[in-house]
Symmetry: C2
Subunit: 146 residues, 2 copies
């Protein structure tokens, strides 16, 4: 066994082809810093690669999910949003009025997960706490009217 057998594979793509499209999409996802939809990603990518297909965007997102590179989230909308997984675990507050997304984290979440694991023997792979309401500003504006 020689060092030739120690192949330096692309650690991110785990043996899957590294195409220009995939590099581009990952780059955009990284720079966008979270909460980007498939369509936004497509539009953004189109600016740098005229011919990229929406199907490729979806296929790549699927792949990135499998490779644990991105996280898929449904923030109340009809469609999903995606973000790179490196970002710390956090949850979302969405304002029903202005659509603003507030991220937050809480130790209570961790405690809840542990409690559930214990009580139901559930092996968790995804936790998503979605909360909807009115942010400080919108609530204030509404109270001016009412």
């Amino acid at each position: 066994m020689t060092t030739r057998n120690i192949r330096k594979t692309n650690n991110e793509m785990k043996g899957r082809a590294v195409t220009s499209q995939r590099k581009l999409l990952l780059d955009i996802l990284r720079k966008s810093g979270g909460h980007i939809s498939a369509k936004e990603l497509y539009r953004s990518a189109s600016r740098r690669n005229e011919s990229i297909s929406l199907a490729t965007v979806y296929r790549s997102l699927q792949l990135f999910k499998e490779l644990d590179l991105v996280e898929e989230r449904r923030l109340g909308q009809v469609f999903c949003t995606y973000e790179m997984k490196e970002s710390a675990e956090h949850q979302h507050l969405v304002c029903r009025s202005c659509g603003k997304v507030i991220e937050f984290e809480s130790p209570l979440i961790r405690r809840l997960v542990e409690a559930l694991k214990h009580e139901h023997g559930f092996n968790l792979t995804k936790i998503e706490l979605y909360m909807e309401g009115y942010c400080k500003e919108c609530a204030k504006n509404a109270s001016d009217i009412v």
Copy 2:
């Protein structure tokens, strides 16, 4: 002013027309006891009313939401599920393998909500904790294979 002016309005429908379709749909929702999709609701209603339209199902669900009669939930799938609001506030665990839905509740949720209200001044209208993973049975079966 006589007693004639004290009109006995339908308390559920709050002045909105009480149609046979709406009665039917509410009845099915009540009897189904939670987690029914628009399509299932439509199929179920079709059995009792041949000509009911899918559009009516969606319109009615929209109305029921507005009247606070039903609650809309997105349990990870592409579509929504609906349930009558009378059921106690609870959250969901969904098994990725068998699709089973486990409902649960925890005082930690309430504490979390209060903490958030305090910290961000967010006026909450909807809380949805969605957790995905493998239930006890499926996790056991998987470990037999692996």
